[in-house]
Subunit: 419 residues, 2 copies
């Protein structure tokens, strides 16, 4: 094991030192920086693709599973999409400087609550190299310095990306250390970063449940948990069953590998036979493996038997757990016991049940008669997102530029003292 | 050492189970609960005072310092003040249910961002028993369940208080476990509470630097750091020196034991001799011990010599570190190196320097020409406060009822699926 401390501490100190200059960049400079980063990605794409080839070759030699190799793989098209993403961030409104609230107090003090950058953001993430560029771009626009820690299998790609966009950013007016990559491959490097409270303001882990858990367990820097989604669709006895079918198929199959895909279907007993006989074959046609409770298996004999583990699993795959419940309340209890506070949906025509579901479910996003797949910064109108928070502090659900800021109080006085 | 786990886990589970009922309480019920808590404090004051006498007796026997005994001591007047505090919280607007933002998306989805309670709040705090009542009251109004962990020297007092207000709250419509006190005295009990992520949503530590550090180091539950304030007043060369004197004396002396009191005075060299010759004797008259840099001691020979430790110390006492600086920029560097991101003030008549100070200082509250002592929920118009955040996630500066909430997205659809 190499000693990760020197690199991590050196880069964290450089980040801290760059934070004030980054925070002071005007909107015009930040937007110019973002376009320069985009231009550089296109111009130097071959350099990036060569680095990526080395990662992909190593991953194949190491026997990495094909879907993971796919996530790692860059192409001209993917690089162009990253560049386009940066230009879209440039086009978003600058969140910094907004006066969120304010007014004059009886003693004459003028108190302004002003939106300011977070400072130094530590991003810890897994394989996809596009996260490197997305995170750097969003941090630039929000006036933050970012320290990036990607997956070791993407190290060459990420190093090339950060070199290209970092040099371009600096050339266009950002500080030299506005974006840095931790390159020491050991887990110790990530753990060191998580505990540098004097240099790092916030950690945003983005990846699977294991990564998130490691950050929660080891970090002393404040962190925002993201992304683990064991999402449910509950089909009420009063549901429009045609609508319910479309939503269940969409929530499960449209993109099964993402956090807002549905993992468990809950069906009210009164409509279970009718609904499952209709939706079951459609799901199977889409390649979905069903794992049902005993009642479900009575209706769909080909479904496998669900275990307790199934109710708790985020499959991220074409697998759906199915449970028949006796009532809305039993569905709510199931969601409270097994949900991850991400996205939950009810399909119903009953007003009171819709209201009850929205009030009772403790999650970032609660849906009536829509697919859980909409929990997304773009779909919510935030423009872009750096992750989806599943905790309750600071930000909940999709986090856009505004969620990458904090505020400070600026108080203008005329000699006031407290009596 | 007793085993803290059974009590802490049992109470945390009970809190989790009560959270949904507490969150669903109407404003009318919550306000009735708060008044019932206040009434009960007055009615059962003798029971509370008897319990407090036992704590005070034990503290004296254990040789606790007199100021700490004073903080522990309850009286009829202090109990009446606690009751009045609860009635003031009842009079504040209910933060829960506010629609913070919302609108219809192009696909017809109506997305509402709705303010909701945090859920289960863990309060870890030190000696003063009034924090027990303040925290319980604020949590009730924000729809949260609270688990209280006070200092062991206040255990009898806190147990009596929680029994009295808890029974009254339940009698008036709150869940039976809306407020609970962890009574196992070991530090292990607090550490257990800090790691119960499945039951506790947020930790709010309130106390000295040691307590805050212990929470930051050991907690896996998201925590809000509060209250450590190494606050500075910088007297610029362009300052109105009369105003500066009044502000420095107020910031240091009006209540030296609190987090928003000034701990270091920075003075521009151009006015150092004039200003320090004026303010030095006034501070000494107020009983302040001065600890100065060499230049300061050249002007005020009676000042002790300040060491590096002094620049970093939150005295919470009638001691003031004094440093003469060459420029505004040197003052900013000093604050960046030693400040705790709490409250910082500049005294100046120069517009550009005021703007520069406000933009450059990274703190919860930045003042121009006013005392740092105003950083307070009441003074900021928040009505009441549960603490002052010195971190950047979720809330910064004074935290009132709104900062004891989070939000969720409620999405109303008509069958929308994602394409």
């Amino acid at each position: 094991m190499t000693d990760a401390r020197p690199e991590v501490i050196r880069k964290a100190q450089a980040a801290r030192a760059a934070a004030a200059e980054m925070a002071a960049c005007s909107t015009a400079v930040k937007d110019r920086v973002l376009h320069a980063m985009a231009d550089a990605l296109i111009e130097r794409r071959q350099y990036i693709l060569d680095a990526n080839s080395a990662d992909v070759r190593a991953a194949r030699e190491a026997g990495l599973a094909q879907p993971l190799v796919d996530r790692l793989l860059l192409s001209e098209k993917r690089i162009a999409a990253m560049a386009e993403g940066l230009r879209e961030v440039a086009a978003l409104p600058d969140p910094v400087g907004e006066v969120i609230a304010g007014g004059r107090r009886p003693n004459g003090l003028l108190i302004l609550k002003v939106r300011v950058p977070l400072g130094v953001v530590g991003m810890i993430y897994e394989s996809r190299p596009n996260v490197t560029v997305d995170a750097a771009g969003l941090c630039v626009k929000a006036g933050n310095v970012v320290i990036l820690r990607g997956g070791s299998e993407a190290l060459q790609s990420n190093a090339a990306l950060v070199r290209v966009i970092g040099e371009a950013a600096h050339g266009a007016g950002a500080p030299a250390h506005a974006m840095q990559l931790i390159e020491t491959p050991d887990r110790a490097a990530a753990q060191e970063l998580m505990r540098l409270n004097q240099y790092v303001d916030v950690l945003i882990p983005r990846g699977g449940a294991g990564l998130i858990r490691a950050v929660v367990d080891h970090a002393t820097v404040p962190a925002i948990e993201t992304g683990v989604g064991n999402c449910h669709v509950y089909v009420d006895e009063s549901a429009d069953l045609e609508m319910a079918q479309a939503i269940v198929v969409n929530a499960k199959c449209q993109r099964p590998g993402v956090c807002n895909a549905a993992e468990t279907l809950l069906v009210h007993r009164a409509v279970a036979e009718d609904f499952l006989r209709r939706v079951g074959p459609r799901l199977v046609e889409h390649g979905v493996e069903l794992r049902g409770c005993p009642v479900t298996r009575g209706i769909l004999p080909d479904a496998a038997a669900a275990t307790e583990t199934d109710w708790a699993t985020e499959y991220l795959d074409l697998i759906l757990a199915v449970r028949v419940v006796e009532s809305l309340e039993q569905a709510l209890d199931h969601i409270a016991a097994h949900g991850t506070k991400h996205s939950e949906a009810i399909i119903t025509r009953d007003y009171a049940r819709a209201e009850r579901f929205c009030a009772a479910v403790d999650a970032a996003a609660v849906y009536v008669n829509a697919s859980t797949r909409f929990t997304d910064g773009g779909e919510f109108g935030l423009g872009a997102e750096i992750g989806i928070s599943t905790q309750k502090l600071h930000a909940r659900g999709p986090m856009g530029l505004r969620e990458l800021t904090t505020y400070k109080y600026v108080i203008h006085g005329a000699g006031q003292i407290r009596s």
